[in-house]
């Protein structure tokens, strides 16, 4: 599969959507009655968090594909999906922390269930790379990583249920994800932002896949053209090969 195909078009659409989203956030969406300007963080933090969690679950689905087919390319896809989701997750966690500081005066609040669950999920998926790195046989590494990913992806919704239930009091959630109590213009801005971040995730995923598969092609070419047995000794790596 050529991952680079159509990447330029996708990148252009992504750029346009993110630009429109930013314009909507700062020039169109009204100021929130309670939070004022601070609430603008919502349009970046919540989409980042949603896309990151979606990316983890996406990685789990791809891992199912790997275990069912035994095809290592699925493992590569799953690896890149989780890799990207971790990057988005870190950005989401940092922006959430900034939001907490701005609206409640603390960098970290334990009574914001989304933030707390998010930290736990990130903690879990941060072990993905060390786990891969600790298993030397590449075939076993891929298989075990897929098992881990499936379990961890199933863990994501369960963890959210448990943490949300654990809040003794839930602070007034002006900004629920249902969008039920968001005024129309805010909801529109939010959804455009969400689509922008989703597109960004897809673009970067495809980009990384293209880069990875290009390197694999080069390696394969070297092997078949030069039947090079003296390949530079591959470093033991956490990345699928």
């Amino acid at each position: 599969m050529i991952y680079g195909r159509g990447l330029r078009g996708l990148a252009l659409v992504t750029t346009a959507t993110v630009t429109v989203a930013l314009a909507l956030v700062f020039f169109y969406a009204p100021l929130d009655a309670d939070q004022g300007f601070i609430q603008k963080i919502f349009y970046i933090h919540v989409p980042l968090a949603i896309v990151s969690l979606g990316g983890f679950v996406f990685g789990g689905v791809l891992a199912v594909g790997h275990l069912r087919t035994g095809d290592r390319r699925w493992d590569m896809r799953s690896y890149v999906a989780i890799h990207m989701a971790l990057i988005f997750g870190i950005a989401g966690l940092l922006s959430g922390s900034i939001w907490a500081k701005a609206s409640w005066g603390h960098w970290w609040v334990w009574n914001e269930p989304t933030l707390v669950s998010f930290l736990i999920v990130l903690l879990l998926f941060s072990t993905y790379q060390p786990l891969r790195f600790a298993i030397e046989d590449p075939e076993r590494q891929a298989r075990y990583a897929s098992v881990f990913t499936i379990v961890a992806a199933a863990f994501v919704p369960l963890n959210f249920i448990a943490v949300r239930l654990a809040q003794q009091y839930v602070h007034p959630r002006v900004l629920t994800l249902s969008g039920g109590n968001l005024p129309g213009s805010m909801a529109l801005t939010f959804y455009v932002s969400l689509i922008g971040i989703v597109l960004l995730y897809i673009t970067l995923w495809r980009y990384e896949m293209a880069a990875k598969s290009a390197r694999m092609h080069i390696r394969r070419l070297r092997r078949s053209l030069l039947d090079d047995e003296a390949l530079p000794a591959m470093k033991r790596s956490a990345a699928p090969s």
């Binding site: 988005f88 940092l94 701005a102």
Partner: protein, 73 residues
């Protein structure tokens, strides 16, 4: 553009603006760091490709030289 700015709510540059800017800067910075890492990997790929090309060319010139030696002998 000026019309847009006039329509926009006055950008509050007190504490609130700082935090909002911070959140968006975090997002842009993370994306940029990622892109720079990818750029480094791209140059590594390029080096690998160049090395492969050099090696293939070296083999070809070896192969071109060899028949001459045989006919001479």
């Amino acid at each position: 553009m000026t019309g847009w700015l006039a329509a926009a709510p006055a950008l509050p540059l007190h504490s609130a603006g700082k935090y909002v800017a911070g959140a968006y800067i975090v997002f842009v910075a993370v994306v940029l760091i990622y892109v720079s890492i990818m750029a480094r990997r791209l140059s590594a790929t390029q080096r690998e490709l160049a090395r492969l090309q050099r090696e293939i060319e070296a083999r070809h010139s070896e192969r071109d030289e060899q028949p001459e030696i045989e006919t001479a002998a």
